[in-house]
Symmetry: C2
Subunit: 301 residues, 2 copies
């Protein structure tokens, strides 16, 4: 496994790998897994999928300052390079790209990629500018790595939808592959930010997955619950947990993210439905979601 | 010469050409010349340079609606496909990409690429949103064609600077090659929009190049004119032409586009200096410019 801290070196490596393969008359597929590091089994699942699909697997680790707001956790975002490299090695990654902030932004960027509409709801409403930072850095990474496939976890369901929209609108030559949420055995979605939680908050955080999964099982079992009823039930369940402070609970179509009408019976919705929430436990903001689909319906972003 | 109207077909063609070359263990360079058609010898000079530098030359012709303001000339912008294809054939173009608006924008784009700062002055001030449309469509074309080099005329000096900034900030894997302005024998810069001019306006339009070139020769001959004096002289010369209505006359550093102080003696400026103007003749808005450089200084964007 190679580790690159400079764009130039990574590009040179990829060029040589592609030339080698071309000499054998092959056109190797490259898979990119863009992350902010502090890797967990959710990231590992993306790397495994990338390993299955591609000849070359590139993991990028970069805590991207321009997607954090002024009062957010950029400085204290957890970092553990040694552990990350060990996990990457274990998953058979070919190249890890670990640039510094100066390498990615030698000057403050004058250029941003902005997706309108999709970025205004859910996390976009509480984190203004966040998605512009995400799409801009993902655009940069796609240009640097030029992958065939790029892998994104569905825990950030809105992020996956926003990036898919960007790729479609700007004709990026890449396939965006959304991958399922990975959870702890007690249901809590894996997140690098879980490390911020006290023992008591970690216990309280179970309310998110528990209430989302209760809703999902009900709908899948054929219950005729409306979007309005579901919102009320979720909100009440989370509010019953004294540690939890709701940022948002929303029910929207996926991947378009337009709101589902309150009167819509969820099991009869014509498109996949995203039930998404962001909840604070102390200073730690967690997100989680489920996507409700008809039997046999395939998820795409 | 091949003509493609669909993105999928063009990409398939480029893939096959690249595979062919790779089988011979070559890595063919591709040159892209993006245009809005109604081609003239200015465009021809870009194609000639692209032909020199690359194995594959792609010409795109697309009148991009999202770079026109609501009261601008999108609908009446001149088009002549047959003449354009004849010129392309003459210049040895390999592939012409001629997409419809529906092919480039199957839905209104939710995504834009925006360059801040550089786009706020000069043409950006009088054409709000114009450069967002330009950077977005150029981003799309770069993703579709994946060229090694892309060629832009220096008549749109600000456009070349904005695109170079975008390419640098977003790590696009392409070289931006600025090419000199081509002029009629009487000095008027070639422009597809010259076709709008009446005989009288065409005659009057000579004031632009005449006054710019007078300034340039003076500075090159060692005259100690300041930026403020130059602005005044240019403005007066153009105002003396009754057909001409000034949109702007500006003197800025190039390619950063920050204003040159009025007291700066132009021949002593530390960086290249762009003297740029936009002037209306009737309803037709023409732009022209000169770049003042020290002897031996090389222009880059």
């Amino acid at each position: 496994m190679k580790v690159f801290r400079e764009i130039r070196e990574l590009k040179e490596y990829l060029k040589i790998e592609r030339i080698k393969a071309a000499k054998d008359r092959k056109f190797p597929k490259t898979g990119l897994v863009p992350t902010m590091g502090f890797l967990h089994e959710g990231h590992a699942s993306l790397l495994q999928r990338a390993r299955q699909d591609n000849e070359i697997v590139v993991l990028s680790i970069f805590v991207n300052p321009i997607q954090f707001g002024p009062n957010e956790d950029f400085d204290r975002y957890p970092r553990d390079e040694d552990k990350d490299l060990a996990l990457a090695e274990r998953e058979g990654v070919d190249a890890v790209f670990l640039p510094s902030v100066e390498e990615m932004y030698p000057h403050p960027t004058a250029t941003k990629i902005k997706v309108e509409g999709l970025t205004e709801r859910l996390c976009g409403a509480s984190r203004p500018g966040h998605f512009d930072g995400v799409t801009t850095v993902v655009g940069k990474l796609l240009h640097i790595v030029q992958p065939t496939n790029a892998y994104f976890g569905q825990k950030d369901a809105q992020q996956a939808a926003v990036i898919a929209q960007m790729v479609q609108d700007l004709n990026f030559d890449v396939e965006i592959i959304p991958c399922p949420i990975i959870r702890e055995s007690d249901g809590v979605a894996l997140s690098s930010r879980n490390v911020y939680l006290s023992a008591e908050q970690r216990e309280a955080a179970k309310v998110l997955s528990r209430s989302l999964q209760k809703l999902q099982s009900g709908v899948e079992a054929g219950e005729s619950i409306t979007a309005g009823e579901a919102l009320k039930a979720l909100t009440e369940a989370i509010q019953a947990e004294p540690q939890a402070v709701i940022d948002y609970v929303e029910i929207v179509h996926y991947p378009r993210l337009n709101p589902v009408e309150e009167s819509t019976i969820l099991k009869d919705a014509e498109e996949p439905v995203l039930v998404a929430l962001a909840v604070k436990f102390g200073t730690t903001r967690l997100i989680d979601n489920v996507i409700l689909m008809k039997k046999g319906e395939a998820l795409h972003v």
